[in-house]
């Protein structure tokens, strides 16, 4: 999926969080959004997902203004783990099959197998480790057959083994030409995958850098 963000300015109050953000991605590109806390990484994701109202003619998916889209097709989203506060008992199986919104089919089973969820299939989602929950949330995002996958800080509070598993999943999706936008503090993790970087800072001097300019990130951050 091609993504164009064109002069996006957004704020919750008078003071903008994002100012004149512009970048574009072709299908299958991997973008990492990096920056300190409070520079607007999560807000950018909220804008891309239309969780907040964005101005017209600022964000385009495959050349269509997202405000003209009645619903998103093929967009997957993996939220920050801290946003997930389930307490109501629900198994992995139930959580994913309800989210699929239709009867289970071969694609559903292939996602479960791809993320190795069979051993925890009947576990209560509230008893999962950070890494396991991460895999469940990625599986849920994949159920939308995403051409654009957005991940918000996926490496926070998960162990090294889970990070390794996440690396493999993202590599595979990247190879399959899924456009991926990753918001992260983890520059090493970003470096593994990124074709380009969007650096956000407090002075609104955002930079769109290509993958080979990794060393310049620190300068702008």
């Amino acid at each position: 999926m091609r993504i164009n963000v064109n002069d996006l300015t957004f704020g919750y109050t008078q003071r903008p969080v994002l100012k004149n953000v512009t970048f574009s991605l072709t299908s299958g590109e991997f973008l990492s959004v990096v920056g300190k806390n409070g520079t607007g990484k999560s807000t950018l994701i909220k804008c891309l997902l239309k969780i907040v109202a964005v101005p017209n003619n600022t964000i385009f998916f495959d050349d269509i203004d997202i405000n003209a889209l009645k619903r998103f097709y093929h967009v997957g989203y993996v939220p920050q783990k801290s946003e997930i506060t389930y307490e109501f008992p629900i198994t992995v199986n139930e959580f994913l099959s309800y989210a699929y919104l239709k009867r289970k089919d071969a694609y559903f089973t292939s996602v479960i197998n791809a993320l190795d969820l069979n051993p925890i299939y009947n576990e209560n989602i509230n008893n999962l480790s950070g890494g396991q929950l991460q895999r469940v949330l990625i599986a849920r995002a994949l159920l939308n057959k995403p051409k654009l996958l957005i991940l918000d800080e996926p490496t926070v509070s998960i162990d090294n083994e889970s990070i390794l598993a996440l690396n493999n999943i993202l590599k595979k999706l990247h190879d399959e030409l899924t456009t991926i936008i990753l918001s992260t503090h983890d520059l090493e993790f970003a470096r593994e995958h990124s074709d380009c970087y969007l650096v956000l800072n407090e002075k609104y001097e955002h930079r769109f850098l290509s993958g080979k300019d990794y060393d310049d990130i620190i300068e702008y951050i």
Partner: protein, 292 residues
Amino acid sequence: MILLNIFKAIIEIDFFRNAIIAAIIIGVISPLVGTVVVIRRLSNIADTLSHFSLAGVVIGVFLAKILVPILKISIDPIFMGIIFSIGGTFLIEKIRNFYRNYKELSMAIIISLGVSLTGLFISITDGITTSFTTALLFGSILAVSLTDLILVLFFAICIFVFIVFYYRQIITLCFDETYARISGINVKRLQLAITIVLALTISIFIELVGVLLISTLLIIPVASSILIGKSFKNTIVISIIISMFSILVGFTASYYFLWPLGSTIALVNIILLFIIFFTLKIRDIRYKTKKK
């Protein structure tokens, strides 16, 4: 022997039969709606709407007294309850927009409006008796007429069909609004439908269990079952079992001791919840001692 007597009463006594059918409907519908209320954290809205709906019922009685002699038509006050209950949800939303950080004030405002209108219309309507107001507050399930029962059954079927048809969407929305939105669920429309279902449930429950006990029946069985449920389905089944058990015990107790039915059912629910708290605490202590 006790059950046999009750069974005989169900067959022989009309009002008892109506009451037990109404109670079974409550037993199934309340945990289903209650689950959505608990996950969406709408407990306070349930209480607010029940108080506001009460004002609707009392205004309905007032209008019925005026309109019947003039227009020669009769209005079922429950319809006014439904209108107020649904209207209340929109008012809450509108008032919320006036506050940025204290949005819950909107519910306190609507409760105040509901209670004050209720007080006013009770005092200016001729012929409202204390037993009528007590019934509104604590329910009068034994006084359910056949017409009321048909109305309750009709709305209960509507609510049940809605939940069965849209359960995937409802559960997905309940657990994660953002995901629901990007999966193509029309979140605004579904949210509105859920609120209308809640409003309908509250209005039909007012006559049966009373304003003060509605949230007990909606929430307590679910509050109990989430502590012991292993999966979503299992939790819903447990809450329906708890709800039905409370209703049956409530019926038996009120039949033999002449206790008020709504209060007895609510109390059994709460006792069960406390037994679960107690059992979990003991299990916790045992586990810790074993570990040491």
